[in-house]
């Protein structure tokens, strides 16, 4: 694999994770638990979808085969998507959506902090931009985790159940393969072991503050690095891709 191939695959993976998460979260728009929270999550969704756009545009440029960001988003099947599985899982109730979001915001916070130092100027630029936004996201979702966990018995149970169900999908966030190896040597990609240590520390502190129990010895799901997904991804793509596939020349 050439460095350029690896850079394309890497950027695509990051773009896919943001795109699928943004698409999933957008289901809450207009359905949030109350107005301010609806606006907050919709703003977060917008940032994430915007980051996906920046990343997929760059992936298309790196690939150099005259595919556009829209082609990448709308004309690939689930087996050619590399988003982390946690992003495609159904939203569930609000506690579950927020617990997942805090897990990912915390990952993104430390990940983009590292990526901002990348030797690839475009990735570093996108990371510098995103980290400012993610800082706000994490502050918001972490404070909700605390309120759910340390709130009523019902909110506590919902947050704990979400945590127990979602934890098995966190291992994948830190998986590295040939793509990462090639790009770490070039000073482009992030060594996810560095991110993992910081993420674990933050999550441990947050869960403790929230009176939630961190799941231990969990079997970790895997597959997205190879394009293997849960059954939920294909349904998201079906909805997201229906229009551009039906009207391939549609402009708006």
């Amino acid at each position: 694999m050439t460095v350029n191939d690896a850079l394309f695959q890497y950027t695509l993976r990051l773009g896919d994770t943001n795109l699928i998460l943004g698409q999933r979260l957008s289901e809450w728009t207009g359905h949030g638990p109350f107005l301010e929270e609806d606006l907050a999550l919709t703003n977060i969704t917008l940032d994430i979808t915007g980051t996906a756009k920046s990343l997929l545009e760059y992936a298309a440029l790196v690939e150099g085969k005259s595919r556009t960001a829209d082609d990448l988003a709308y004309l690939r099947n689930d087996r050619h998507y590399f988003n982390a599985q946690i992003t495609e899982l159904p939203n569930g109730d609000y506690a579950r959506t927020i617990v997942r979001q805090a897990i990912i915001d915390c990952f993104d916070f430390y990940f983009y902090t590292e990526l901002a130092k990348s030797k690839d100027e475009t990735l570093a630029g996108i990371a510098q931009k995103s980290i400012k936004e993610v800082t706000y996201h994490l502050r918001h979702t972490a404070s909700w985790v605390e309120r759910f966990g340390d709130g009523t018995e019902e909110s506590h149970n919902k947050a704990q159940t979400a945590l127990n169900e979602l934890w098995q999908y966190t291992g994948e966030l830190f998986e590295m393969n040939e793509i990462d190896e090639i790009l770490i040597k070039e000073g482009i990609a992030v060594d996810l072991n560095l991110v993992k240590a910081k993420w674990e520390q933050y999550m441990t502190d947050l869960l403790q503050k929230s009176t939630l129990v961190k799941p231990e010895n969990v079997f970790m799901q895997t597959g997205s690095r190879k394009g293997i997904h849960t059954e939920y991804l294909a349904f998201i793509l079906a909805e997201m891709q229906a229009l551009p596939r039906m009207y391939p020349d549609a402009k708006w």
Partner: protein
Amino acid sequence: MISKEQILSLLSEIPDPEIPVISIIELGVIRDISIIDNASISLKITPTYSGCPAMKQIEDDVRKKLTENGFTNITIITIYSPPWTTDWINAEAKEKLRKYGIAPPENTTEDKSWLTGKIKSIACPRCKSQNTKLISQFGSTACKALYQCSECLEPFDYFKCI
């Protein structure tokens, strides 16, 4: 040949699509202008927020303005580095925001005290009272937070520091 100052003054006529009291130049999103000749120009533009829907509008407005002024070959490149910051909004533009009813960004982004929860008080843009409270970190657009004044009771937007 048309000068950079003339281009800047042309672009200063374009209002921000979401906050029309300030221009896109005052917003600080135009990062570089290179004039090739009287028909060709290349501009670098940087987004305020990753998902800001106004960016497309700004790009379209810039194209329209330049086309009206004789340019036929317009290149607009989006750059991400250095990332946009509210520090690029100058004092004059901040005053325009305040008059419009949006509390301008109070701190420089160098000041990270808000990260630890120590948020400086934001003055109400209407009655100037410091007795205000945060309703939500996220407001009507990506760049704003929602506050309420405890004196005059009016809710207001605050342009957050990033």
